[in-house]
């Protein structure tokens, strides 16, 4: 058997494999890049609210974690139960990961006392500090809600947004997700996954 005859296909095979490896790596890199480009929107302003446990909770407590934030109130008849149910699903979904935190802020501080928030948290199975429930004077809530999270706060408590806000470990808002839209919640999971790579 002629050695040259067998070496040529091997050489061609190596060249072809090299081309495919380079092309394949480029495609995979572009796909990865397209998923990981979550824009940095706004920085959450400083705030100091009170958690259901009675302890203070502020921006520093959000830093170092991936945060999913929503605005609710416990007497809410229709939107909030759906939002909290979705939040509860996410809370269970990420139960293994301490670095994913859920933050629910009351837009009805008058009625949502710490005790009420504790009962509400319990009704959704929130039994640790991965899911916190916050209250503050309504003016403070409106300041953070409108000025920081860029969500409308008209005719509170009813007129709050049904969106989940994703905040990264530096306290920067990265994306907004409609809590009523399954596809959008899948997108939220994808974004959390991307952010988790930097944890």
């Amino acid at each position: 058997m002629n050695k040259g005859k067998i070496q040529l296909p091997i050489l061609l095979g190596i060249i072809l494999a090299a081309f495919m490896a380079i092309g394949g790596a480029m495609v995979i890199y572009q796909a990865e890049k397209s998923r990981s480009s979550i824009p940095e929107l706004w920085t959450v302003p400083e705030f100091e609210f009170t958690e259901r446990s009675g302890e203070a909770f502020g921006l520093d407590d959000m830093k170092g974690k991936i945060n999913v934030v929503d605005f609710i109130f416990t007497n809410c008849p229709d939107i909030c139960p759906v939002m909290s149910a979705r939040m509860s699903e996410l809370y269970r979904y990420y139960s293994e990961y301490d670095f994913v935190r859920f933050v629910s802020i009351s837009v009805d501080p008058q009625r949502d006392t710490l005790e009420t928030l504790r009962a509400y948290a319990g009704s959704w199975g929130a039994d640790d500090d991965r899911w916190v429930f916050l209250r503050a004077p309504i003016d403070e809530v409106v300041r953070v809600m409108e000025g920081g999270f860029k969500l409308t706060a008209l005719e509170l408590p009813m007129g709050h947004s049904n969106r989940f806000v994703l905040v990264d470990k530096n306290g920067v808002i990265r994306s907004y997700h409609d809590s009523f839209d399954d596809a959008d919640l899948e997108a939220l999971k994808g974004n959390i996954k991307q952010l988790a790579k930097g944890m």
Partner: protein, 305 residues
Amino acid sequence: MNKFRKFAFLTTVATYILIFIGGLVRVSGAGLGCPDWPKCFGRWIPPLNIDRLPPEIDPSAFNFTLAWIEYFNRLAGIVIGILILITAILAIRNYRRVKSIVYPSIAAALLVAYQGWQGSVVVSSKLEPFIVSVHTVLALIIVSLLVYVTQRAYYLELGVTTVADLFPKKISRESATLWGAAILQALLGTRVRSAVEELRRAHPLSSDLDLMGMLSPEFYVHIVLGLLVIGFTFHIARALLKKSEQLPGLVRQSIYGMVILMMAQLVLGFALIVIGMPALIQVFHLWAASLFVGLNLVLYTALKR
């Protein structure tokens, strides 16, 4: 090389490239890059930017890169489907009386049509693992049929010479068994990949390496069967190379190719376990398996003639 054989050979090469592209789609996560089928985001050509999305589609679901990766896969699929159809037409025209060429060519054309339709099921099932596995195995069967047809045409062109007597019948039976084992091994490989994805749903932020530590017995069966396939390949190679003096060139090249591919699979498989399933290595692992299936068929056909 006559016209038919040249065309069948090119179609086979193109099909191998499509298998590679299909693997890339899978590992790059572009399988649902186009959420509808046959259109992509409601258009025959995917939108070039978000402003051109139809109003009923949620812009947050649109990823330009993933949509175009999947769309390119579909385009390549259509081109290769047409090539296989032309191969079947040429086979009917040129080899009307040669059943061993006409039947496999028609079967490849029918299967590729089915495969095209099955692509829609893959999308509508949202990449259901079993359906994705069927899609992969069908691709291996289609490429096997094309390899077989090309080979048969080659031997017809060569004239009526037989080498079957040179080798014990046992070896061709072993080669056929090896083909079946390699297909089964590819199927198990797709199951392992699916099992990792299922685990990822339960442990969404864990690394691939951590997920592999949780894998089911299917994973170990895949490793053991892989080692058996490698051992069996070396056994056949050794048995044939003993007759080194009488070996036709194609048989010798197939054996060397198979041994090289098996060694590559050993390295790639080991890398997947140690590094934690890097995407590109997954594609080459599947692609090398598909090349092995084809080369093994070349060997089988050469031994049987």
